[in-house]
Subunit: 334 residues, 2 copies
């Protein structure tokens, strides 16, 4: 098969690769569409210890069962593989399972990703594609589940109903815009602001959201004023921005992980009783709920997704890297 | 009157000082007992921008009304002064009021503290001393309210009942031991560990708690295993310890603020969905609940408090500073 292989720092190569072999309880999926995630970019920059070259990246995948129990079935893949029998899995928090693995990672165990023609996946990670959901759009399920999970962690920790909260989202990438769409269209909140530093991407967000979409240095932003801040970037600068704009008693949901260093205002977080909450992936329940959301078109037409051919994947990585790509999400079609 | 005045970095002087004048709505209190807080030590080290010399420190105060509406009434002072009419005060979160001030601070406004013979206090900050509560012990009300508030923030954010949680407290100072007593005796949790680096203080905690009391390097401590961690120190080292011992999905309550810098494992907090929550002071309701707790003797005999004369206050500050003081709390008697 053909695959886009991460071979070295800032290098992905479209090349021949062996078709994966399935084990008992797995299916071979012919991939229809596969998105590029921020965490794939993190790997591309050589900064993810869980994704080491050579490796096929990608974990936002839709496709058709080619070998396995349900040949011909169109599926959306939940890329999070958990043990199914620890205290976390038993409580429905599979994303906290100690032996969890994600497709497109090779530490602690090798699970080749979806930027390829085929992938082997445990049957328990397959979700049937609903009839009226486009199979290429369905690749957005995974980041939508991440966003739903992040928004609902914020909702759960707010002391007021989310519909009444003044909300800031930092970053207009996929998690940022998807969180914004969920907050606007599902949580029915009309007091949301999204900030984005890349003017091209800012435009795309403005065209697809009803909320305020601003540059981070906008004079319309007031410090200490937001009940909920979702940091969908997760670097030292955005964490500082999050704390700066957070109101006393507010909640910061840390939904990105671009870097893990840098200064942080522990003083304000303490004296103003701010909750800083990490969020990672989603539960299996979140994933199924997400598919229903997409099936019913609840977060819009998703026309901001840009589709490209897998063979042109190297250019996509490069453009995301150098900021010349406007789309919050590029999905590659093998 | 006599007062212990913070005159310079690492210097407090017992000296003559003008008796404060009361304004309308205030009472003059003849102080019975006044505790030294960790935040007073922070000021003593020249590290608190809100407490600048010259200043009378101290905000853990009991006494008797000398001038005012209720002359002769024995009182416990709630040292947190709030506006009473902002969105936070109206919701019962007076501790988040933007114009809040604390006795024993001089920024943003001057409020001389309780390490003196007399203090002027708004009548709304006076709580009558219950009959069967010793007036000197009553000075522990303020740190007990801080601890109750911190424990209940943890309780509120846990996904399991606090009685079932595996809990770690970092630091055996007043907030540490009081939080431990509240968790043991009021929350009825018997799965608590307290760690303390000072062996003298460790002994005092061991003598007054049923829980495990260990040195931080004890082999009995298991990383990634605690549902709730209360950091009652709040420096870069203890924050790292807190994250290290926190279980996936757990809660860290940051109840101290020794320093605001240093490294922090944002990666683990994110990938393991840990909630890091700042806590500061208490609400007026917490303060009243605390007085009832102390009145009913619910957290024990409090015999670990050490009482000294105010005139010897300089030595007390020095001994807390150099770690030769075993007691988690020194209360000074004018």
């Amino acid at each position: 098969m053909k695959a886009l292989v991460y071979t070295d720092i800032e290098k992905v190569v479209y090349q021949d690769y062996e078709i994966p072999k399935i084990k008992s309880g797995e299916s071979l999926i012919k991939i229809s569409a596969s998105g590029i995630c921020g965490s794939d970019m993190h790997a591309y920059h050589g900064k993810d210890e869980r994704r080491v070259p050579p490796l096929i990246l990608g974990h936002e995948i839709s496709g058709v069962v080619k070998e396995g129990k349900t040949i011909g079935q169109k599926v959306i893949i939940n890329p999070l593989i958990s043990c199914g029998d620890c205290e976390f899995c038993n409580l429905g928090s599979e994303h906290l399972c100690k032996s969890r693995a994600l497709l497109g990672m090779n530490k602690p165990i090798v699970k080749e990703g979806g930027l390829a023609e085929f992938i082997a996946v445990p049957d328990t990670n397959l979700n049937n594609l609903p009839e009226n959901l486009d199979i290429n759009k369905a690749a957005i399920s995974e980041p939508t589940a991440v966003s739903l999970h992040a928004v609902e962690i914020g909702e759960k920790n707010l002391s007021i109903p989310i519909i009444d909260a003044k909300i800031l989202i930092i970053g207009g990438g996929a998690i940022g815009i998807l969180s914004a769409l969920i907050i606007e269209k599902i949580k029915k909140n009309n007091n949301l602001t999204l900030i984005e530093i890349n003017e091209k991407r800012l435009k795309v967000c403005q065209n697809n959201l009803n909320s305020k979409v601003l540059l981070p240095n906008s004079k319309d932003l007031r410090i200490n004023s937001f009940d909920l801040v979702i940091d969908a970037v997760g670097n030292d600068k955005t964490r500082q921005t999050a704390v700066q704009f957070a109101k006393p008693g507010s909640v910061i949901v840390h939904a990105g992980l671009t870097n893990s260093d840098g200064r942080f205002d522990f003083r304000k977080v303490t004296l103003q009783e701010i909750s800083f909450i990490g969020t990672y992936c989603y539960t299996a329940k979140d994933f199924k709920q997400t598919i229903n959301i997409l099936k019913d078109g609840l977060i819009g037409d998703l026309n901001w997704i840009e589709y490209r051919e897998l063979k042109d994947g190297a250019q996509a990585f490069k453009q995301i890297h150098d900021g010349t790509c406007a789309a919050p999400k590029i999905v590659l079609i093998p």
